[in-house]
Symmetry: C2
Subunit: 142 residues, 2 copies
């Protein structure tokens, strides 16, 4: 078998829970993560390298729908900053979990439309596998 | 991690090569099989249980397009018999490979439209993962 070869690189797109508060991973992406650990990685922690992508949607909280006439550039700046911090906290959850389990990982954020960004990043990063959360449709796709 | 738990059940739909001769697996499903071994199973042979499904398409060699006025029921019977044997030989390839590598497996054939049969069998068998061959589109889907 191939455990002397390069580890299996699994890319995972993660997003926040829609519940307000501290940025928690969504239920679907946490399920996908748990599924991946128990069904793919299993005890073979050295054989896998996990890649976490969080796509930040520019209008995530409907900012563009609001009257923004009185918004100053500073407001935009501080919102971007806040979103960035939330994204980092989200990724921190997965990186910490991997660290605890001894699985190598990388994590990064990108801005844009999730579908487009995920496809773009898959082409760029060329993972062996892409895991995305789903809402009861099954978490798996390549 | 979860290696004390039930093995990961991976179902794989396999088909024959379109090249004539002894029933060989198609290039795409052999690639999918190799990919699964090297990227999912890796050295963790105890952690996986492979399920091979071969769907036999009733008109696979265009029999219905032929003039069948003179075909006797025996002809049908012997053709069904021949198809069945080809299917069994095909599955034998995968079962032998698994046996050689020490991976538990099961294999069976069904008749019908591959898409419908595969979906039906996935619902019935409830694998953790479905692997299907593809023609350059990437071998993975759940």
């Amino acid at each position: 078998m191939a455990d002397s070869s390069a580890p299996t690189r699994v890319m995972m797109a993660v997003n926040e829970s829609s519940l307000k508060g501290y940025p928690h991973p969504s239920i679907s992406c946490r399920s996908a993560f748990d599924w991946m650990l128990s069904k793919l990685v299993r005890s073979n922690t050295d054989g896998f390298h996990l890649l976490f992508l969080h796509v930040q949607v520019p209008d995530e909280d409907g900012f563009d729908d609001m009257d923004s006439i009185y918004a100053s550039p500073t407001d935009f700046q501080s919102m971007k900053q806040r979103d960035k911090i939330r994204g980092i906290h989200l990724l921190e959850y997965f990186v910490n979990e991997c660290h605890r389990l001894g699985i190598k990982c990388e994590a990064w954020t990108k801005h844009g439309d999730p579908k487009e960004v995920i496809c773009h990043e898959v082409k760029r990063v060329q993972p062996d596998l892409l895991v995305v959360g789903s809402r009861g449709l099954g978490p798996f796709q390549r």
